[in-house]
């Protein structure tokens, strides 16, 4: 059984082919990285998987079910969560409330129960307490206790990335899409993030799809790597194989006039 697979995916914006002929399969429990230069189509690929874009052709299969063409909230329901390259947090809520949004699909309080939250033993009161406890566990895991009650808009960049990761984890995903989780972080924050990503893979058993520019980190934590450029696949394989591939070197380092990298 394939856990997650993309077959022959293609999408174009106007005349521009952003992605073409993308096919890969991810096994459960893997860290699968997608690399490529800026504008290669990595984030577009994530947006297709997560339902923000509707692909023109091809299929996306998650746990034996086709998810291409579904809306993002339907896809989230299947057990797929993501973070964004340009942080997309709810700026006027505090850290706790942001992560609580990740519990949205697990909560049942509607308007009537919500308005009637009279006391801690009302339906909504009990549900709030239960899920806040769950969120507290995630806060502890990612060491966010200090900013628990702070508005996220005012937090440092690295911490905001952490909150985004926490919010995605609150969804209890089986597949987690991380779009440049380390971008803009200093080396200490990077180390922590790598540590957490490993933790999430090992202890929570979450499969991870990763976009990252930091080659050292990618080589460190990925089980397999897919390299793309101009919307097409260059190569796919183990880190050491991909690293040596001439096309990858060319895409990353450029080419001399005589064709030598």
């Amino acid at each position: 059984m394939t856990f997650f697979a993309v077959n022959n995916l293609a999408i174009a914006f106007g005349g521009l082919k952003a992605l073409e002929g993308i096919s890969f399969a991810v096994d459960q429990g893997e860290v699968f990285a997608i690399i490529g230069p800026n504008g290669a189509g990595k984030t577009t690929l994530f947006n297709c998987i997560n339902g923000i874009y509707r692909p023109d052709a091809g299929e996306i299969i998650f746990k034996e079910k086709r998810i291409d063409g579904l809306k993002p909230d339907r896809i989230a329901r299947c057990g797929l969560a993501r973070t964004f390259q340009n942080i997309e947090l709810f700026n006027h809520m505090n850290t706790m409330e942001n992560i609580m949004l990740g519990r949205h699909l697990f909560m049942k309080t509607g308007i009537f129960h919500g308005m009637a939250m009279w006391g801690k033993n009302s339906f909504a009161g009990r549900e709030e307490r239960r899920h806040r406890q769950k969120v507290e566990e995630i806060i502890e895991l990612l060491e966010l206790e200090a900013v628990r009650d702070k508005l996220v808009g005012a937090l440092p960049y690295g911490t905001q990335k952490q909150v985004e990761l926490a919010r995605a984890l609150a969804l209890e995903p089986e597949l987690l899409l991380l779009d440049e989780p380390c971008a803009g972080m200093n080396s200490e924050e990077k180390q922590d993030m790598i540590f957490w990503i490993k933790d999430i893979q090992d202890e929570l058993g979450v499969t991870i799809l990763l976009i990252e520019h930091d080659m050292k980190m990618v080589m460190d934590i990925s089980d397999r790597i897919l390299a793309i450029n101009f919307g097409c696949m260059i190569t796919m394989g183990r880190p050491d194989e991909v690293q040596k591939h001439p096309e990858v070197l060319k895409a990353y380092l450029g080419e001399d006039e005589d064709g030598q990298p």
Binding site: A81, F90, H92, Q133
Partner: protein, 349 residues
């Protein structure tokens, strides 16, 4: 860290004894008011309370969900006409007719929410504006609705309680207002409210977290329209007579102004904004009766501002106050409140 912490602290109504104390003080003031002031001020209080209900509802839509509506007078009208018609034609008791009419308003709110899925900002404002204008036109044309002549309210009886005076009505209206305000506050603190705020702050991220945008955007419109409908039904009994001309575009704009002047995205702001603007609206009519300044203002108005020769200084003062509030505190009255609170916490440093 204290591990025995109860997570209910995050969402509970009274975050501290001080808050509870002031809430009790406020309730006591509301309770004794009818015994100590003149009848006219009871009428003013009723008028304010009704605007507070609309503003709280509109704030759920504009302040929390980030949508806009210039058509709330339409929902207000549906609530007012619906309540009277259900009582006179179908002989519903008041306490059933009011929520039923508000549910009709909520249904219209849901329908108006559908175009909101594709429209944003100014485009949505115009679509809702169209709705508000259409409702009054349609109502004015239908004989069942009293046409241009309008409708008189039936006698208001709940069980064996005959509500004849403004004072009686105050006793019905205030508990309802408090209940609706607390309900809105609870709603915002739980799942649905969080989804609303998430849509306002980052709709794509909200959708990615599993929030169904279609459902929650239309729900925000429906809840907001429900509040306006309830307020409309109550307003009919304050005026005792309604006609299509009451529910104008100006009324929709005033509702929006209350929410913005009070402070977007805050229940306190909605209450303060509605109270201030509706109070000013009534009180500024008396501005010319003020000693000394009154005559001077009247002369100023007639000589320099008025086209028709009728004094219009109250509108000018009204507009001036709104400009000043927005200029000095873009967060509205809520922002002023936050600053005052901070100042006193630090006092005397």
């Amino acid at each position: 860290m204290d591990m025995k912490r109860d997570y209910y602290e995050d969402v509970q109504l009274f975050t501290s004894g001080v808050v509870l104390f002031w809430f009790v003080v406020l309730l006591s003031l509301i309770a004794v008011l009818p015994f100590v002031v003149k009848n006219y001020y009871i009428y003013v209080a009723n008028f304010v309370a009704i605007n507070v209900i609309v503003a709280i509802g509109l704030n759920i839509l504009v302040g929390y969900t980030g949508q806009i509506s210039l058509g709330h007078a339409g929902f207000f009208a549906i609530g007012a006409y619906g309540t009277i018609l259900l009582m006179t034609k179908l002989h519903f008791p008041f306490l059933l007719a009011l929520p039923a009419a508000a549910l009709v308003a909520a249904l219209f709110g849901f329908l108006l929410g559908l175009p909101a899925l594709r429209l944003e900002g100014p485009y949505l404002a115009i679509a809702t504006l169209g709705f508000g204008l259409t409702i009054t036109q349609v109502i004015g044309r239908i004989e069942l609705f009293g046409g241009r002549q309008g409708l008189h309210t039936p006698e208001l009886i709940i069980g064996s309680w005959h509500l004849n005076s403004d004072r009686d009505f105050y006793c019905l209206l205030m508990p309802l207002t408090i209940l609706l305000a607390l309900g809105a506050r609870n709603l915002i603190k739980t799942k649905v409210g969080r989804a609303f705020i998430a849509i306002r702050d980052a709709d794509i991220a909200a959708e990615t977290m599993g929030v169904n945008l279609v459902f929650y955007k239309t729900l925000a419109f429906a809840v907001s329209a429900f509040y306006a409908g309830i307020a409309g039904g109550l307003y009919a009994f304050v005026l005792r007579y309604i006609e299509p001309e009451i529910f104008t575009l100006m009324m929709s704009i005033m509702f929006l102004a209350m929410v913005v002047v009070g402070g977007l995205g805050s229940i306190f702001g909605a209450i303060a904004g509605a109270a201030l603007l509706s109070w000013l609206d009534l009180q500024l009519r008396n501005i010319l009766d003020m000693p000394y300044i009154g005559d001077w203002l009247e002369a100023l108005s007639k000589n320099y501002f008025s086209i028709t020769g009728v004094s219009n200084i109250q509108f000018i003062v009204f507009g001036f106050i709104m400009i000043l509030i927005m200029l000095f505190e873009p967060l509205g009255l809520y922002g002023i409140w936050i600053r005052t609170k901070k100042y006193w916490r630090m006092w005397p440093f």
